[in-house]
Amino acid sequence: GAGVSQSPSNKVTEKGKDVELRCDPISGHTALYWYRQSLGQGLEFLIYFQGNSAPDKSGLPSDRFSAERTGGSVSTLTIQRTQQEDSAVYLCASSISSGGYTDTQYFGPGTRLTVL
């Protein structure tokens, strides 16, 4: 079937506004990850969902960031009161399950967020 999809592909917002980024994982994949790619910073992990378990939020940079995953499928990453340093490409990935190194993560095309 289709790969991981993300929307919107680009988002420009004003400082202080809230934004929502959406991720549709590959059908049947139970694990879902959010990463952020900032210029010069590389890719950094944000949050991880596995099935119905409580998410691992250890990578979220501040309490302005939150994410949810409804019905074990679609996920939404919300950034409240956006700041200019939030500008980055937000990538979503999914894998068939969580199992460490045997589990290939497949990435979506990303959402490029620009905060003016």
């Binding site: 990463y35 010069g40 590389g42 990935a93 993560q105 990435f107």
Partner: protein, 116 residues
């Protein structure tokens, strides 16, 4: 924490030339992933290596993991413009702490340009 160093940071080659990109870890690698990134396409999974001395090939791209499992190389034979992009190595830190982890740690990438 796990760090992955990639070299070179950028590479410009003439079409038809061979090239090698390296990824070096400060700790033993138990799962090493290679991805390619093009603008607007997210990360495309290339290969995953697990065993010391392992080598995998796909079309003109060969990836190797050394016996000590601390360095991986990606070799492209007879490069083509379609090979241009950013190559990222990622490691699963699952076995570093033994506690079970799932988010990938990435190198900062190697930007490859192929001149026709």
């Amino acid at each position: 924490s796990q760090e992955l160093e990639q070299s070179p940071q950028s590479l410009i080659v003439q079409e038809g030339k061979n090239l090698t990109i390296n990824c070096t870890s400060s700790k033993t690698l138990y799962g090493l992933y290679w991805y390619k990134q093009k603008y607007g396409e997210g990360l495309i999974f290339l290969m995953m290596l697990q065993k010391g001395g392992e080598e995998k090939s796909h079309e003109k791209i060969t990836a190797k993991l050394d016996e000590k499992k601390q360095q991986s190389s990606l070799h492209i034979t007879a490069s083509q413009p379609s090979h241009a992009g950013i190559y990222l190595c990622g490691a699963d830190p699952f076995s570093y702490s033994g506690a079970g982890s799932y988010q990938l740690t990435f190198g900062k990438g190697t930007k490859l340009s192929v001149i026709p």
